[in-house]
Amino acid sequence: MSMSKSADAPHRLETKLGIVIPGDDLGEINDKLAGHGVLEINGRFTAVKRGILSEKEKVVSVEPIHSKYTPRPSDLVIGYIEGCTNNIWFVDIGAPFNAILPMSLGPSKAEFGGARSVIDIGEAIICRVQEVEETHSSVVSMKGMGLRKINSGIVEQLPPHLIGRIIGKGGKSLSKLKSNSECRIVVADNGRIWVDGDISGISKVRYTISNLANENFGGEN
């Protein structure tokens, strides 16, 4: 199996030779380390996910072609409030489990018992993943630059593995899209994109996003 070194462009078909599927033998361990999507079975590396094989600094890993969003600390995410108690909000961030936003990490004007008056159920927020437990439950925070409640614009959803297409190499595609549409665009790691601007700009961005989403990876025989 040939190894692709272009892990920064995982969605391009030119690295097709490097696509592996669960159960594929990835060779002997030697002095290498198993990264994401790779397992050591009987002294050999085995792929456990479908994706693009890459090797960086002696770490062999598989970049999944398609997978559900798994939160990692410091990820920027856009979430919807699903529920709240007196001092906690439950946030849907598109992961297997809802994240929690404690009042201490929420907007500073929030007071005990008044969670809903600050961010109500159904509203969207831009937040950052603070910590992720082993059981995949996570805590998000709104303390930081640009982390806020979304009051205008739209939130688009894209499969998380496709956000690389929007951003492009070194953020080129994104900055081009921003200047073309004259919109404010925030691409979150969980595949949600906040677009704010005038209607013509928003529809331009939506059109581009839906085009990118439909440029599917050919999974057909």
């Binding site: 669960p22 397992l39 398609h66 999974g219």
Partner: protein
């Protein structure tokens, strides 16, 4: 296994009614990503069998009492559409579908790395659109492709194939007539990379030699089906 032992289903040259040799498979077509709202999906056509499998999850397991603190729960639902058979089937679950759901779940549990997703649930829905014979094999094979499409970590894919006996001759991949009027059926779930077995059922009687022959047919067929699954998952062409 209808017991019509005098129905002749294989000629003197070893050719079967549909023109296949004893070890030949029916045509197979696999497509992934067919259900846009699902996290992973697969459509598989095997002869005139057709199955659509959709995967949802990993997601929070509900109700909470089904959650396992150390691993995910795999929920498999096998269902045949009312129009999938020649006579209309009564919709909904029955004893047969419950049995197949269970054996499919057991087979998949041995490859899916459930311990990576504690307290979650992975939902596997297998819908048989058209049934000829061997739908449990189609369902299980398609489910493993759909799981791989959903990005669920697995140690291997599962290939399921069946061999059986017609007119005292062992043949691979039975069609409807052979299944109904044959003497035995041996579906197996095989891990193609290691040759391990995760599922085996036997309906009817086979002698030791016949069993060995059926086993060999299944193992050979598994590697052929695995190649097709590989092509479907890596975006290659051809069947």
């Amino acid at each position: 296994m209808g017991g019509y032992g005098d129905v002749r289903m294989i000629d003197d040259n070893g050719m079967r009614m549909d023109g296949r040799g004893p070890g030949d498979l029916r045509e197979i077509f696999i497509e992934t990503g067919v259900v846009p709202v699902a996290d992973g999906s697969c459509r598989m056509i095997w002869g005139t069998n057709e199955a659509i499998v959709s995967i949802y999850g990993p997601m929070e397991a509900h109700p909470r009492k089904i959650q396992r603190q150390d691993s995910a729960v795999l929920a498999v639902e096998y269902n045949m559409a009312p129009f999938s058979t020649t006579d209309r089937m009564r919709p909904g679950f029955n004893r047969r579908s419950k049995e197949i759901s269970k054996v499919t779940k057991d087979a998949l549990e041995s490859v899916v790395l459930l311990e990576l997703y504690p307290r979650s649930k992975i939902q596997v829905n297998i819908e048989i659109i058209s049934a000829e014979a061997g739908t449990r094999c189609v369902g299980l094979t398609a489910a493993s492709v759909a799981l791989a499409d959903a990005g669920i970590p697995m140690t291997d894919l599962v290939v399921s194939v069946a061999s059986g006996k017609i007119n005292d001759i062992v043949v691979c991949d039975l069609n409807k007539e052979e299944d109904n009027y044959g003497e035995a059926d041996l579906p197996m779930g095989i891990l193609p990379n290691t040759g391990e077995l995760v599922f085996l059922q036997m309906d009817g009687d086979l002698s030791q030699e016949e069993f060995k022959q059926a086993w060999d047919y299944n193992m050979n067929a598994a590697s052929k089906v695995h190649e097709i699954m590989k092509k479907a998952l890596t975006g290659g062409d051809g069947e």
